[in-house]
Symmetry: C2
Subunit: 170 residues, 2 copies
């Protein structure tokens, strides 16, 4: 229990929370386990759950293009693969706490994994019981999302630049 609280406090989501506040959140969260190769979420599916990795490593598979561009090499060229592990204090699926929206990546267990899962409705119930705590978690969450937005905006500018240079040259 103390070890788990220490892990949760290291995540960007629960940054600056006191151990007793983490304990409060844990009442609304649930411990779940997956086996290696299990798919935890699929891109395009609707989801209402955020996951915090306690043990293990997952693979994040994200579509890069709207069409299939694979050639005969058998390598999936239109997808990007990244890994997240407990050592990184990784959280995924966090947008689900804010919106009823489709998953933007597929997440697969690489090793046996243990997570804390927190559902949107449970987060909202927790916040309704303790707005101070809800506010602080939401401030962390919105900063995570805002950092991702800044990164996505930079990617758009880089891609538009590449596209403009190619179109100008042709």
């Amino acid at each position: 229990m103390e070890k788990e609280i220490a892990i949760l406090r290291e995540t960007a989501l629960f940054k600056d929370l006191m151990p007793e506040e983490i304990r409060k959140v844990m009442i609304f969260a649930r411990r779940v386990s997956f086996r290696a190769d299990d798919v935890i979420m699929r891109e395009g599916d609707f989801g209402d759950t955020l996951y915090i990795i306690l043990e293990g490593t997952v693979e994040v598979v994200k579509r890069l293009t709207l069409i299939e561009l694979d050639d005969d090499s058998g390598i999936e060229k239109n997808k990007v693969f990244t890994r997240l592990s407990a050592e990184q204090h990784a959280v995924f699926g966090e947008i689900a706490l804010l919106e009823d929206t489709k998953r933007t990546a597929t997440i697969k267990a690489i090793t046996d994994c243990t997570f804390y899962e927190l559902k949107k409705d449970d987060f909202l119930r927790m916040a309704a019981e303790d707005y101070h705590l809800g506010y602080r978690i939401l401030l962390n969450l919105s900063r995570i999302v805002s950092t991702r937005l800044r990164k996505a905006d930079e990617d758009t500018i880089k891609l538009t630049t590449a596209l403009s240079i190619i179109l100008k040259a042709s």
Copy 2:
């Protein structure tokens, strides 16, 4: 005053807030005016202020590429121009409430304008006085940011698709 509260209640930021809650926020905000052609913020500058348009129209100028691609036509081809007005219940600069970060667009007044401005520190002070209110504004704000992130992710996929098709054809 009542008219202003009605305008503020129509914004995505203050969605579902009661008039008396809007009044509380207004204590921490400030009414400011700009003349037509005034620059309200410049892309790349640091900012700590969010603006809600009460009267007037602004132009949002956003860089699309990292390099200058203008030709002799005199048209700035590497920028995108959009307009925001009081009729749209527009809010801009909202990321400033979350992070100390650079402005991602230049905003210029097209007509004489009146705004409410809310500074990050004032928002945090307001929230510290009323966490329930802070939580609800933050929930609205994080949903705005998350919607923008989804849109940016879709743009990235579209641009990568275009780039892949061109590179495959060449």
